[in-house]
């Protein structure tokens, strides 16, 4: 007696019987291999396909539309002041949990001696966390975060206030450019897709009660983006 089909066999078998009648098997396999090996781009809206300076401007506009706040600073040395001033303006304790990201560790935090800085993953009672972002995506004002040795996902979800340090040179126009960037970065490190990759677009919100839109659901109620450096004029286009 043959072994009974596993659920996997049954499901794939049913699918194969249905699709086999309408496709050429060799061509189908080749089409799939090709699409996965070199993912083609589909139609991309024109909105994000603008030169870098306009991408920065678009990013700021779109992020602001979803209730994030954006504060440009000239160079990394200004970040401790931007953080400390933001905290005091919002009556928050001068204490932050910071992702152990190389760029964030390189910031001269001691320029604001009263600011207490702890590197590491978020704790449940951390009121404010600071993270970097791999990219900012202009078309929707979204931030690309990836978990790893230098970032823990809950840093962006547990605190009430999430501060993001984003280099203006890391702003791209559209999602597809962000994926290319992510693929290159992971390949350089000999890694595949990070465990958790998140596009963050504004602070957390809900409209589950009477469709009343409220900020601060389970994730942060405030998302503040510190945008470092001037837009990269004449920077290498990332796509292509």
């Amino acid at each position: 007696m043959p072994a009974p089909d596993t659920p996997r066999d049954t499901i794939l078998g049913t699918i194969r019987r249905a699709v086999a009648t309408v496709r050429d098997e060799t061509a189908a396999r080749a089409a799939v291999e090709q699409r996965l090996a070199a993912p083609p781009r589909n139609l991309i809206p024109a909105r994000g396909q603008v030169p870098p300076p306009q991408q920065v401007e678009l990013f700021q506009r779109m992020a602001t539309l979803v209730a994030a706040t954006v504060e440009p600073v000239a160079e990394p040395g200004r970040v401790p002041h931007a953080v400390a001033d933001y905290l005091s303006a919002h009556n928050l304790p001068a204490r932050v949990r910071v992702a152990p990201d190389a760029a964030l560790q390189a910031i001269p935090w001691d320029r604001r001696p009263t600011l207490e800085v702890g590197f590491g993953p978020a704790r449940a009672d951390d009121p404010v966390c600071v993270t970097a972002a791999l990219a900012g995506v202009a078309e929707t004002g979204s931030l690309l975060l990836a978990s790893g040795a230098d970032h823990a996902a809950p840093l962006a979800f547990l605190p009430h206030t999430h501060l993001v340090v984003l280099s203006a040179a890391d702003i791209v126009g559209v999602y597809e450019e962000a994926w290319d960037r992510l693929r290159r970065r992971q390949a350089d490190r000999g890694l595949g897709m990070p465990r958790a990759v998140t596009l963050v677009t504004g602070p957390s919100r809900t409209a589950d009660i009477e469709q009343t839109s409220l900020l601060h659901a389970h994730g942060p109620g405030r998302l503040h983006i510190i945008l470092v450096g001037p837009p990269a004029h004449g920077a290498e286009p990332l796509h292509g």
């Binding site: 049954t10 799939v32 040795a149 009660i209 389970h218």
Partner: protein, 474 residues
């Protein structure tokens, strides 16, 4: 979930007599469509993107076996595990055994309609686990022991007063005199309570909006951030999803994401779009030790290669129900199963059987609004009509209805007889209508005259009047 779709007519009647529900639906029916229209107007390429979305999903479905195999291989390579489930029972068993092996006591959940489909919560609770829904809307209906009434806004049928009443009933450890008059009071209370659950859970279960074959990733979109806390804090992350959600690449997922939130809530993008791939890596600061994906079929594969295949393109945005006049009138619970509205009328008969769900494809005026907003261009009215044909062929509809249609079909195929019969009928009704020109009661038309008068014909048929007007033209 045990279907109650056979009782659609009674449930619909009860829904329309419920003033709380009517008030909620009145607010709902303008909100989402307006926001969607604004988002669409802000993106000139939106209509072309709908064509792209359809093309991507059609390609993925035509190669579904190959993309599922690649997806599985990539999940495994990333250290995760894929479990295949033909039926809801197999899906429940797979998840239960994962929870048992992990020695789990508490499970947090992100919103998942497939979880409703397989009745997961009841099975886990029966096994002695504490199960906590963490999406605000899902949490509310969980404490009310109800099903979601909408696929993206599960508690839209409730008023804030009803929610406040439930919170007072269930959260007995809190001060009874506290104020719960505003939605923000309710949100704060739920956030504080659920925070403890997030931190204490052993297993986090989420659904998936898309699966990506290229990377072996599962994708969820949320606005609250509950899905991310559900999957990143516990030791085990289980993704419960269904086979038709796989798309080839990150690029393909991006195109569908450009359609999803705009069609659903009118947002440009949901607040959090998270791609999850495997468990935590050796150097990672955080993340679950185990990553499982449970792939449910439950009748979907049987739709491939049939006219109903187009329904498998659905990305569960809810736009069809947001724009449906029938849904606006009766709400989601009347449909009696997991997926309400036009898409429910098309997939529920496939998943729970036409005999159970036969009323749903009939609960449509075929106005076509659903198809006009569907981001992946599913021809919903045509598919509902196909179910009606199957219903007639299987003689599931009541006798008098079938005989009436049979009589009409007999006449409609005989133009001379049709004209004669209608001329006699219109003449008779015209005379009977008399000077008042309307009927308070008409035999066989009680459904109409029960609520309003039926206007009497003037005594001439449309065809006669048309011919006359054509002759009168110079």
């Amino acid at each position: 979930m045990i279907p109650a779709s056979h009782a659609f007519k009674e449930r619909a009647r009860a829904a329309m007599a419920d003033p709380d529900l009517t008030r909620a639906l009145t607010k709902f029916k303008t909100g989402f469509p307006l926001k969607r229209a604004q988002a669409v107007a802000a993106l000139p390429e939106f209509e072309a993107l709908r064509d792209e979305g359809k093309r991507i999903k059609d390609h993925a479905l035509a190669h579904l076996d190959l993309y599922l195999e690649r997806f599985e291989a990539k999940v495994t390579a990333a250290g995760g595990q894929v479990h295949w489930a033909r039926t809801p029972a197999e899906a429940r068993a797979a998840i239960l055994s994962i929870c048992r092996a992990a020695g789990a006591r508490m499970v947090t959940k992100g919103k998942s309609m497939v979880s409703e489909e397989v009745g997961l919560n009841a099975a886990l609770e029966e096994a002695g686990l504490e199960v906590v829904e963490t999406d605000l809307g899902e949490y509310i209906i969980q404490i009310r022991k109800e099903a979601p009434s909408h696929i993206i806004a599960p508690a839209l049928h409730l008023s804030k007063e009803q929610v406040a009443e439930d919170f007072r009933r269930v959260h007995t450890h809190l001060d009874p005199a506290r104020s719960l008059s505003e939605p923000s009071d309710l949100l704060t209370e739920a956030r504080v309570l659920l925070r403890e659950k997030f931190l204490a859970a052993d297993v986090g279960i989420t659904g998936a909006n898309f699966l990506i074959a290229e990377t072996g990733s599962t994708v969820i979109v949320t606005n609250e951030g509950n899905g991310d806390l559900t999957q990143s804090l516990p030791r085990v992350h289980v993704v419960l999803t269904s086979i038709e959600k796989v798309v080839p690449t990150l690029e393909d997922a991006s195109t569908l994401l450009r359609l999803l939130a705009r069609s659903a809530t009118g947002q440009e993008l949901s607040t959090y779009t998270t791609f999850s791939t495997g468990p935590r890596r050796p150097d990672d600061l955080d993340g679950p030790e185990q990553f499982h994906v449970v792939l449910l079929d439950n009748g979907r594969s049987a739709l491939l290669g049939t006219e109903m295949q187009e329904a498998l393109r659905c990305i569960r945005c809810g736009a069809c129900m947001n724009h449906c006049p029938v849904y606006h009138a009766v709400g989601g619970h009347a449909y009696g199963w997991v997926y309400p509205g036009p898409i429910g009328a098309v997939i529920d008969p496939a998943l729970i059987g036409l005999e159970e769900a036969r009323h749903l494809p009939n609960a449509s005026t075929f106005c076509g609004r659903c198809e006009s907003v569907c981001p992946v261009r599913i021809p919903l009215p045509r598919l509902m009509r196909l179910w009606r044909e199957k219903e007639a062929a299987a003689r599931l509809s009541p006798g008098p209805q079938r005989w009436g249609l049979g009589l009409w079909a007999f006449l409609a195929r005989r133009p001379g007889l049709y004209r004669l019969t209608t001329r006699l009928g219109m003449g008779l009704l015209g005379t009977m209508g008399g000077r008042r020109g309307r009927f308070r009661y008409l035999p066989l038309a009680g459904g109409w005259t029960g609520a309003r008068d039926f206007p009497a014909p003037t005594g001439r048929t449309f065809q006669d009047l048309y011919r006359e007007s054509q002759r009168a033209r110079p």
